[in-house]
Each structure stands twice: as C-alpha cells, then as structure tokens.
C-alpha cells in the first residue's frame, strides 16, 4: 500500500475544501471498497479525508411524504428501517441482496453509490485498463466477459456498475444531494453515473471534492408493490449477473404505471425507460412483458462470454412483472 495522510474535518464544507485542495486525495466513507483498492494499488490517494461523521446517518421524513437518507447511513440500517421495508421494499431487498452483513454494517449510502467496478482487469494492476490508466487499452474486451456489460458500453470500456442499491434507487427516481467546491446541488440518481464513452475513468458527473450529503426518495405509492430480483452465480455474497428492480401498478388488467431498472448489464444502474414506455397503458399480459423486455434489450451489444445475459435479462424482467401482477390480483 502506498503511504497516505489521514485527515478529519469539522464539517462537510471544510472536508470539501480540504479535498478540493488535494487533487490526488479521496473521501473515506466506510472504506469497504476504497481500502481494498488501495491495498491492490489500483488507487493510490495521497490523502484521505474522513467523511464518515460529517453527514447524517439517519432517515428524515420529508414534508411531501418522501424520505431523506443521510449519506453516512449504513447499508444495514437502511435495509432494516421499517419505512423503507414498507414503502420501498425493492430498496430493502436490493440492499439485503448486496455484499454481506459485515460489509453492509460498514458501507455507507454515499459510498455504495461511488463504489468502483469489480471488473477483474480494473482490479489487476498488471493488465491494461482504460478506467484505471486512460489510453492503456481494455483487457476485458478480449478477455473474460461473464461479469461485464451488454448495454451502454464503449470501445474503451465494458465494465458494469456493481451496486444493487443504486439499481433500486434508479427505479425510484431518487435524487442525490451534494456539497461541492461551488456549493450545493441536486442530481437525479439516473444522471449521477456516466456511460464510459471515451472517458471511462470518470464514473460519475461529480467534480473532484464534491461530497454526497444525502439521497432523497420521492413519495411513490406504487413502490409499496415492488421487488428486487438478483440472479448470480452463488446464492449469496456474489455480484449480480442480471438484476431487476421493479414497481408495478396494475388495475383492471392494464398497467397503469411502472418503474423498472436493470443491474449487472451496464456501466451504470440502467433505468429501463424503453420497457416502461411499452408497458404503460398496455394489458398486463406475458406478451406485453416480453415485448417490453425485447424493446429494452434491442440495443444490447453482447460479447461471446456474456451473450447469455440478453435472454437472462429478458426472462428475469418477464418473471418479475408476471409475479408482481399475480401478487396483486
């Protein structure tokens, strides 16, 4: 591990100022991903600014009926919160499907969003990787594809975003609140993460020194009827090959409203707006569900080692929509 300096700040504004003045520094939350990457020397920050105690670690009720989740709230506490379990079950299920109890106890809400890809080539400093060393080339394209993306990829990078929580938040139209060198701003969760294009080293639209302070969940009645389904190589403690976050409102056999997002298939939590468009107002039948899944996956660019993800994502989407429809009737 490369030596680094450890800094504590008295509040979020001074933490942002500290990091803005340290171009090679990083914020430290739970450290469940950052510290691993530092041990591998994938990341070599010269200073860590500890932000674990600078933002709220609780959930606050918002006047509009939504919830504000403090950035320092541990993943385990968020999954266990009764309001989340009752009003946003897809979010509780996504959290519980991720990592392990020990990791969820330490990992924060803000840190979960900013975790890096688990692409094996990104994590192996002996192989070229455009995300780790821009311009070096991509080892994954001619390598092992099983965990890699089929949607939203570029010539430079085919890595997937590993978070389960973020997929549920994408479906919920969550909003990320930040404190940056130029003040506060709100970013829709679906716009937080970038597609790689020719700058795969930039995972998000955040500028250097910009700190996530909270995540807002808007009130969404149909979220009470929702689920998160994760398909993986092991029954537990593994990243998603494909996952689906879905909330569905069916009345008189017709889809009144729907929220859908996919995980494990793209460089960012993939909000399935194309499928949602096919579903809204259409009969809640297996045929509609298949058409919606096919429309969403029409632009998929699979590689030999992950072509299985196209039919797997299709079947998982259809099964989740069917189960949510049957539970309701």
């Amino acid at each position: 591990m490369t030596p680094f300096r450890y800094e504590r700040a008295s509040d979020a504004v001074s933490a942002v100022a500290l990091l803005a003045a340290a171009p090679n520094g990083a914020f430290l939350g739970g450290g469940t991903n950052l510290v691993d990457l530092m041990k591998l020397e994938v990341l070599t920050p010269d200073v860590l600014v500890d932000v674990r105690c600078l933002t709220s670690d609780r959930i606050e009720d918002l006047p509009d009926g939504g919830l504000r989740i403090g950035a320092a709230m541990p993943n385990s506490d968020l999954a266990a919160d009764r309001r989340i379990r009752q009003r946003y079950p897809l979010l509780a299920e996504a959290l519980l499907a991720g990592a392990s109890g020990q990791l969820r106890n330490l990992a924060t809400t803000g840190g979960n969003l900013l975790q890096r890809t688990r692409c094996v080539y990104f994590q192996d400093v002996t192989t070229p990787c455009n995300k780790r060393a821009p311009g070096a080339g991509c080892s994954a394209r001619e390598g092992y594809h099983r965990a890699l993306a089929i949607l939203g990829t570029s010539e430079a990078c085919i890595a997937t975003h590993p978070s389960d929580m973020a997929v549920a938040l994408a479906a919920l139209d969550a909003v990320v609140r930040t404190q940056g060198p130029h003040g506060e701003r709100e970013i829709p969760l679906v716009e937080l993460h970038r597609l790689p294009g020719d700058e795969p080293q930039r995972d998000t639209v955040l500028e250097h020194g910009e700190l996530i302070t909270a995540v807002d969940l808007p009130p969404l009645a149909l979220a009470a009827h929702s689920c998160y389904r994760k398909v993986r190589d092991r029954a537990s403690y593994a990243f998603a090959l494909v996952s689906v976050a879905a909330a569905l409102d069916v009345a008189d056999g017709v889809v009144r409203d729907v929220r859908l997002a996919l995980g494990g298939v793209a460089p960012k939590p993939w909000r399935a707006t194309t499928a949602e468009g096919v579903l809204r107002g259409a009969p809640a039948t297996e045929d509609t569900f298949r058409r919606a899944a096919d429309a969403e996956l029409a632009d998929a660019q699979p590689l030999p080692g992950n072509a299985f993800k196209v039919p797997l994502a299709r079947r998982t989407l259809v099964a989740v929509l069917r189960d949510l429809t049957e539970e309701r009737s």
Binding site: S76, A80, Q86, P89, Q102, L103, S236
Partner: protein, 64 residues
Amino acid sequence: MLREAADGWPSAVSADLTAEHVTLDDDEIRERMSGNLCRCAAYANIVPAIAEVAGVAEAREVAR
C-alpha cells in the same frame, strides 16, 4: 447476527420483509452466515450449532 434476528431485521431469504419476528430456520442461518470471514460459515455442523445457541434447535428438529 443473533441480535439482528432478535430485532426482527430481515435478510435476503426472508419471505416477509415487514414481519415483526424472524424465524431462524436453516436458510436464514446460512444466508446470515454467508459473508463470514471464515469460509466454513455454514458447514453442516455449524448450522445446528447456531440453532442450538439461538434456542431454535427444538423447532428445527420438529421441522424435519
């Protein structure tokens, strides 16, 4: 792990997320032990040992 179950925290295998009580059956014990640093987390003899300590061993026998 036992404290979380006693507090009614659900896991990825809990059928009802909003249930007040968690029944620590074999699936719950395995899931809750799955991230244990020692990878023998849920070996054959560890699951009944945990059930015994949790005081659910009797229910586990009846369920067989």
